[in-house]
């Protein structure tokens, strides 16, 4: 089985935010929730670069480790998913996540949070694949259709890569060799305890 990962080549990302928009559209993500976002470092300064970030589907995921109701699970493709029928919206996964991936719809009194929502790697959730109920809860299940995540698939500069970790790392390494520079794979050290040479 493949070990699915994301890799953002920040030397190619032009901060067009199309990945953010495509994700929201594909899964009909509600207002106020962003499964993916583009962060610009050193904005307006020399060395400015933008990185598209979402759930990195970590090895030994911190969200799963701290969840009080144990609602996370990892698929055979190493995608980290969660069961919204078990989630209580406590917010612990947001405190533990190094990438700020978990999102919560604000509902009810005070700062009361609804069930957590995050990037599913376009792999739906624990409901039966490609059913209406799965779509409502988790969005599209492109992986079950043999497709890769929409954000990476429609990235205009192919900055965002999704797929098996070894394959996308090889693509990135080839790019770095050809153009002679690269800034490395953002989040890989934190998420996968692994490094892609820049």
């Amino acid at each position: 089985m493949a070990r699915m990962k994301f890799l953002c080549d920040s030397d190619r990302c032009i901060e067009c935010n199309a990945c953010v928009t495509a994700c929201k559209n594909e899964h009909e993500v509600p207002w106020g929730i962003n499964r993916r976002r583009v962060v610009t470092l050193n904005d307006g300064k020399p060395g400015e670069r933008s990185i598209s970030m979402a759930c990195m589907h970590c090895t030994d995921a911190p969200c799963a480790a701290v969840c009080p109701v144990n609602c996370f699970y990892t698929t055979a493709d190493a995608v980290v998913l969660h069961d919204k029928d078990l989630c209580i919206g406590c917010g612990y996964c947001f405190y533990a996540c190094p990438f700020g991936a978990p999102q919560y719809p604000k509902l009810g009194n005070f700062g009361s949070r609804g069930k957590m929502d995050k990037c599913t790697y376009c792999a739906g959730g624990p409901q039966a694949d490609d059913t209406a109920v799965e779509y409502i809860q988790y969005g599209a299940n492109r992986l079950a259709e043999g497709k890769l995540p929409i954000c990476a698939e429609m990235c205009s500069t192919k900055a965002l890569l999704a797929g098996d970790g070894q394959i996308i790392a090889a693509i990135y390494k080839e790019r770095v060799t050809r153009r002679g520079y690269g800034s490395g794979a953002w989040g890989w050290r934190t998420a996968y305890q692994e490094d892609v040479p820049a």
């Binding site: 962060v39 470092l41 109701v69 700062g111």
Partner: protein, 332 residues
Amino acid sequence: MIRILALLLALCAAGPALAQTAAPPPFTDRGQLSASELELRAALKGERISGRVSIPDQQAANLIQPEGLDWRGFHNRTLAWIAGIAVLGMGGLLALFFLVRGRIRIAGGWSGHTLQRFSLLERANHWMVATSFLILGLTGLNLTFGRHLLLPVIGPAAFTALTQAGKYAHNFLAFPFTLGIVVMLLLWARDNVPEKADLAWLKQAGGLMGHGHPGAGRFNAGQKTVFWLTVFGGGIVAASGYVLIFPFSVTDIGGQQLAYIVHGVLAALMFAAMLAHIYIGSVGMEGAFDAMGTGQVDYNWAKEHHDRWVEAQVTKARQTVAPRDAKAAGAD
């Protein structure tokens, strides 16, 4: 004409050279660190890598926050150990104490006479704080230990239903708890001011082990400790709890994590301390529960544990009974 041709030739020759200088120099030449190096440094320094986002949620501007991994360690290990040792340790100590000392009896036996120790307002407020504290404590412990202790027993669906209800109870009961703490402070602060006699009481450990009863006013040094622990500890637990209940309204991710750490540690220690309070107010001591039950305590019990308070009450009662212009017999 020759000049123009020469100029064109020169331009053509210079063309590639111009294009060469216009191309960006290699990234590594710009003095920038690689992603991996930046992440490592940020992790070592415990700093966030943040930038700018175009979406309104400023929490999203943090690209990587390595403190999350520290928080994971705190939540899964540190807090579990602190809370586990505090609660089980206190339970063990109390069981041991009960085996050694047994129920502390009223030395003079029941007198049959009672006097008012706590008014209806005091008792109602005490029980409002007590019930909300117990539910807050148990639902809090469930968030730390339930996954390992309760979830395997009752199954995921039932456990989620219970924990979800617990989350709402925890959020809502924060308010009566805080109100009760404020009322307690207003009602009892005056009688809980530390005094010199408290030192003597503490030196004898409140007579817990021996048979003597060190003198005390309305509240002894032990009760004063419980009181100030409740007011200050409860106050800080409540304050950090409100930070958590309204996430990101006053602070950022680092502040939220810190609020959780303060809230968790203090609440666990308070829960353990209150176990001792519950013990001594129920099975641990004969006659003690009445103070918060009916509000009427036995005269002998009161004399043994709060001698100076009893004296003051008796003096006050005599003054109340005697008319203002009453004179001692034979005075006129």
